[in-house]
């Protein structure tokens, strides 16, 4: 899929903006604060029905306004139109070719998307929540059942927690309602663990290939998945932990605590990795994720790179350019503050590139000299 035209209205700091991207690689150039990242987030909204950055849709509405709207025109063999509208009261409507989805989740996976932002490099290494997000982000785009099971699991774990909090511990034993929640969590957990293990198995070879390529063969990365859920024991663990979970207000067992460990050359990345090695890892992992999405969905993903080149040295930039060239993408969006750097990189890339420059709240295409 290729975005041909995107109209933003009252989306974050983009009051009225019309953007006509080209196939291939699009550089978006402008100073800090003009709204480059918001364009990427708007594209993300059209693909994933939500912001990459904010949990709540309201945060994406321009200050003092009641709604935002993003209208986009896409094309592959035929043309499609996606309209995203969000109101301040939380109402969100997504139209695909003029038909509104009854559930936004039906849209997931239609346009696979990957976003790389430099800040994430550090959170990814330090926060296990971010690593689980990576897994879920990959799977919801390729596996509808996974989305359903994850939703079920999260809902039931909340219900269980709420029940434990508001009831007398004496009633916990042989409680049919807790049994109901735990048996749903058990069934959903079984599906989720299986899907996650398979994902990691498929991503690892790509990750190894890309990390070697990015480091001239110096660095071979891998990830290891460790679940906190054991099919054999999960049910009895939950039953045993009811009282202590009630006291601590947490659920100590389950897929919500699954771990993803990162390695380079068989060493723990978190403990022994340098900043450069961590950067290489995270970027290689995103490209591996992209390859995975492409091979599962047979659709070429959209790649969004937010100000990534500014944070990399020249060698890494050159390697990254090579990776982008080889990737199965129809369209890529790259933001940068520096026009000269963008021009230089555009020259290196052996693909169709175009440069768009922010000029007094308009995006103008930069003519090649």
């Amino acid at each position: 899929m290729i975005f041909k035209k995107i109209l933003f209205a009252q989306f974050k700091n983009l009051n009225e903006l019309s953007f006509n991207p080209k196939p291939g690689i699009n550089f978006i150039i402008g100073n800090n604060g003009v709204g480059k990242t918001n364009i990427l987030d708007g594209i993300h909204f059209c693909c994933m029905t939500k912001s990459y950055f904010h949990h709540s849709d309201k945060m994406s509405i321009q200050h003092d306004r009641d709604f935002f709207r993003i209208e986009s025109l896409l094309t592959n063999d035929e043309e499609h139109q996606i309209i995203v509208r969000c109101k301040k009261n939380g109402q969100r409507v997504i139209n695909f070719d003029s038909i509104a989805y009854s559930k936004a989740s039906e849209h997931l996976g239609k346009i696979p998307v990957i976003m790389i932002i430099p800040d994430e490099v550090y959170t990814f290494i330090n926060e296990s929540e971010e690593r689980r997000k990576f897994i879920n982000y990959s799977l919801v785009q390729t596996d509808r059942e996974y989305f359903y099971q994850l939703n079920l699991y999260n809902q039931q774990i909340k219900q269980r927690k709420s029940f434990l909090k508001s009831n007398n511990p004496l009633s916990f034993e042989n409680n049919s309602l807790l049994d109901a929640y735990e048996s749903d969590m058990y069934k959903a957990g079984r599906y989720i663990v299986k899907a996650r293990s398979e994902l990691i198995k498929k991503i690892n070879p790509y990750l190894e290939e890309f990390s070697r390529e990015m480091s001239d063969g110096q660095q071979s990365c891998s990830i290891r998945y460790k679940s906190n859920y054991d099919e054999e024991y999960a049910l009895s663990e939950w039953a045993k932990q009811r009282e202590s979970d009630a006291l601590s207000g947490r659920t100590r067992t389950g897929i919500h605590l699954d771990k993803l460990e990162c390695f380079f050359n068989n060493q723990s990345l978190k403990n022994f990795g340098s900043q450069g090695q961590i950067k290489t890892f995270v970027i290689a992992l995103r490209f591996a994720q992209m390859k995975y999405l492409q091979s599962e969905s047979h659709r070429n993903p959209i790649l969004l790179l937010d100000d990534l080149f500014a944070k990399l040295d020249e060698d890494r930039v050159a390697q990254l350019v090579k990776l982008i060239e080889r990737s199965p993408i129809d369209q890529c969006f790259i933001t940068d503050t520096n026009l000269d750097r963008a021009k230089k990189i555009a020259k290196q890339i052996n693909q169709r590139t175009s440069i768009h420059i922010f000029n007094s709240n308009q995006l103008q295409i930069h003519e090649k000299e």
């Binding site: 559930k103 219900q159 709420s162 508001s166 749903d184």
Partner: protein, 204 residues
């Protein structure tokens, strides 16, 4: 908005906020009542006050009724061996409209959701179990909306009555009549395929 009269304002305030009625609709209704003959308002006031004083809840099924036992429960021609369990009175009315069901009902008054402060003890589940124990009920039809809370509630009720000699069935889930398959959501369509029914049964 500025009102010419405090009395008027008070009535508008009590109307607005009713389900589906905002400030403007409330004002329109109140002005209509104020302009029209005295009897109209009087009639409405009387009927409402009668409802608050005399409306009863059926002791058997928890539906609204004019009597201690509602018309459905006291109707001798209705099958006493089968009970349809529903979430609310509106669901009961919807099923009654189909004229397909000749048994009696049991209204739960909600679905289990501790997150919203609704535990099993807040619903009419214990009485349902008692009802099954004390009479000749052979089948419970769970006419509960398909949702995570709905499924949990059905599971819970099933566990409460599993030692009793009563059959439990679920309303069928699938494609609605006259709809297009391509527009059905994947869960519904997937379920319809995996829980398909023999054609002979469909024709009968």
């Amino acid at each position: 908005m500025k009102y010419p009269s405090k009395i008027l304002e008070q009535v508008v305030d009590s109307f607005s906020g009713l389900p589906g009625i905002g400030k403007k609709s409330a004002l329109r209704i109140v002005l209509y009542l104020a302009q029209n003959p005295h009897q109209k308002s009087k009639k409405i006031v009387d009927s409402i006050s009668r409802m608050t004083e005399e409306l009863k809840i059926c002791k058997e099924c928890f539906s609204y009724s004019d009597f201690d036992i509602c018309e459905i429960c006291s109707n001798p021609s209705r099958d006493r061996s089968i009970i349809c369990v529903v979430e609310s009175i509106r669901d009961l009315m919807a099923i009654e409209d189909t004229q397909q069901f000749r048994g009696r009902y049991h209204i739960l008054n909600g679905l289990i959701s501790p997150l919203d402060g609704i535990g099993p003890d807040r619903l009419n589940i214990d009485v349902l179990v008692e009802r099954i124990k004390s009479s000749e009920i052979q089948e419970l039809i769970m006419a509960i909306r398909p949702s995570i809370e709905g499924d949990t509630t059905v599971y819970y009720i099933n566990r409460q009555v599993e030692s009793l000699p009563v059959k439990i069935s679920l309303i069928a889930r699938g494609i609605s009549f006259g709809s297009e398959l391509e527009y059905a959501d994947e869960f519904t369509l997937g379920r319809s395929i995996s829980e398909r029914i023999p054609y002979q049964r469909h024709r009968a």
